[in-house]
């Protein structure tokens, strides 16, 4: 067996890694909660954001943490445009169609990146990704600590935006009662696009936080898609605190699973949780009962 200190360290590191997962899941759950669609292109969009952050670093030497504001704005715009002019119109208001369109989008994005950048793996270079901070007896990864803090701040900002601003009120109105929102003069197409844009902005932030500890390649987003879906389902589709808690939980499960089962079977834990939750608690651990 492993000494308790090692298990504790794995658990805490998992918790920190989970914050980045939570951020990816936050975007997904927001889009689901408002548009009631599952955005399959989420992983591919994350890959795009990671390539963008990597590109800014490679071209201008920009620190990924400093890329957060410009990339968040750029990806908000990208998400807005995608929902407003591609996903929305081509789905004809049918959920099955939306699923297919976002799947198509993910295939296009992922393989366009593959065609341009080939399947080579890229990283920031240097050893910044391995910096550690000593906390008591434990060694914690510095980039993950930053990620944890930024993820919490982002979640808090998002929550504040949804609960205290007019845009947030419009988003909640459309999510609850689309027709009613239309009657009071809210354009749901605009609100949908704004929501999708916010989801993509979360992704851009997550990408900048992940970059120091992850290699970038055109398929990197796939690793996060099912993890993010698992978190969203676990936390209850559309629930922001649920996504946060779910993300932290999945981070710990993955870290401990990797410790006990080895890396190749470690991923299995997440899928098994995903299937079990879908089958037995589709409203999530924290969501309302079915």
């Amino acid at each position: 067996m492993f000494p308790p200190a090692l298990i504790a360290e794995a658990a805490v590191n998992g918790l920190l890694a989970g914050a980045a997962y939570a951020l990816v899941a936050l975007g997904l759950t927001l889009v689901y909660g408002v548009l009631h669609i599952v955005n399959f292109a989420h992983g591919a969009l994350l890959t795009c954001a990671m390539f963008a952050a990597w590109g800014l670093h490679a071209a201008f030497g920009l620190d990924p943490y400093l890329s957060i504001p410009p990339l968040a704005v750029a990806f908000f715009g990208l998400g807005y445009a995608l929902q407003r002019w591609v996903i929305g119109p081509s789905s004809h208001g049918d959920d099955g169609n939306t699923l297919l369109v976002t799947l198509g989008l993910s295939i296009v994005l992922e393989n366009a990146l593959l065609a341009v950048f080939r399947s080579d793996t890229r990283s920031l270079g240097g050893d910044a990704g391995f910096d550690v901070v000593e906390v008591g007896p434990m060694l914690l990864s510095y980039p993950r600590l930053v990620g944890f803090a930024v993820a919490l701040v982002t979640a808090a900002l998002l929550w504040a935006l949804l609960s205290a601003t007019d845009t947030g009120r419009a988003i909640r109105a459309v999510a609850k009662e689309k027709l009613g929102a239309q009657l009071v003069g809210i354009d749901p197409r605009h609100v949908y696009a704004v929501t999708f844009g916010l989801g993509c902005a979360c992704l851009a932030i997550a990408a900048c936080l992940l970059l120091p500890t992850f290699y970038v390649n055109p398929r990197v987003g796939n690793a996060f898609v099912l993890v993010a879906f698992t978190i969203v389902v676990l936390g209850g589709m559309g629930s922001i605190p649920g996504a946060l808690l779910g993300g932290l939980f999945v981070g710990v499960v993955e870290s401990l699973g990797g410790l006990f089962l080895g890396d190749s079977l470690g991923q299995l834990g997440i899928f098994v949780i995903f299937i079990l939750v879908l089958l037995f608690r589709p409203t999530g651990l924290f969501g309302p009962r079915a």
């Binding site: 198509g104 080939r118 190749s264």
Partner: protein
């Protein structure tokens, strides 16, 4: 089932059977892999097209068929034809099991799509990790040409075999579509609650659809294994096959008899053409065919509701007027 439903399809397949007279070996190989995808797509069509349950994880059935054939031959010395039969049966069983778990839990729409994807991924990780399936190194089926081993020295014979299977499934699909089961499937697709109110046993109908669908797609997996004589977890249980069969159906026309076949041929034809066209300009570009696949999927959903077959039908109606 009327002759009008199946005649164009059978004529098309008959025409393809003449290909070995004129086509090169490379062209035959291309046709073979397209037809194997077409067969897998015919399986998807029953569940996704007629019953309206979008699956993102048909690799689960494809891989089960492929691995069953390969493992039975390699580890247990079972004859390849028997391996094919057992693979198909296992495909049906896996389909039924996944269906039983997810339909009983009332998963629909996106939830169902996600859970099928997760099942396929679990199988992929398991196949990648265990010795029985050859782990990450994969499985190599021993080359032993001979009709008894389901391996043929000439590409033409194998092509005819695959064409025969595709034709058989075409007839089966037309027969189902024209019968009571087809009517129940469509009723469940259009409005499950209303179908139930009319006395349709929705659970049983969907279970039948997914078992049949799994069996057909598993058959495609078996034929894939016999054609290439090699497989690993990322081929057999990889997302590529789940995605290709789905796009082939949506593009060709999901819920139509001939749609999956037309879709698979068109999809692979377009992909090959794009690869060749770009290779002339910029050298080989990886992933370019898939970019096209994804774009075609979006365009088909946006502008061709019922795919190519629906478009043809509308055009024919327009001409008749």
């Amino acid at each position: 089932m009327s002759a009008r439903d199946v005649l164009p399809g059978l004529m098309l397949l008959g025409l393809l059977a003449l290909a070995p007279l004129v086509a090169s070996n490379a062209a035959l190989n291309f046709l073979l892999s397209s037809l194997i995808v077409a067969l897998a797509a015919q399986g998807w069509n029953l569940l996704g097209g007629y019953a309206g349950q979008l699956s993102f994880g048909h690799a689960a059935f494809f891989g089960t068929g492929a691995y069953a054939t390969a493992i039975l031959q390699l580890r247990y010395g079972v004859n390849a034809w028997a391996g094919l039969a057992i693979g198909v049966a296992l495909g049906a069983l896996v389909g039924w099991a996944i269906g039983f778990l997810s339909f009983r839990a009332r998963l629909r729409g996106s939830y169902f799509a996600l859970v099928t994807l997760a099942f396929a991924e679990v199988l992929r990780i398991l196949a990648n990790a265990f010795d029985l399936t050859g782990g990450a190194a994969g499985l190599l089926i021993r080359m032993a040409p001979g009709a008894a081993n389901l391996q043929f020295p000439s590409r033409a014979t194998f092509l005819w075999l695959v064409l025969a299977v595709v034709a058989a499934v075409l007839l089966l699909t037309a027969w189902i579509a024209g019968g009571r089961l087809g009517a129940r499937l469509v009723a469940v697709r259009e409005n499950e609650d209303a179908a139930r109110a009319l006395g349709v046993d929705a659970l049983r109908t969907k279970l039948g659809a997914i078992a049949l669908s799994g069996a057909i797609t598993a058959a495609a997996g078996c034929l894939y294994a016999q054609n290439f004589l090699y497989l690993d977890a990322n081929i057999a249980y990889g997302t590529w096959i789940s995605v290709e069969v789905l796009i082939a159906c949506v593009l060709g026309g999901s819920g139509t008899v001939l749609g999956p076949v037309i879709g698979a041929l068109a999809l692979h034809g377009a992909g090959e053409a794009a690869k060749i066209a770009l290779a002339g300009i910029a050298g080989p570009v990886p992933g370019i065919d898939l970019v096209l696949f994804g774009a075609l999927l979006i365009l088909a959903v946006a502008f061709l509701p019922q795919g190519v077959m629906g478009g043809l039908r509308r055009a024919a109606r327009g001409l008749a007027r």
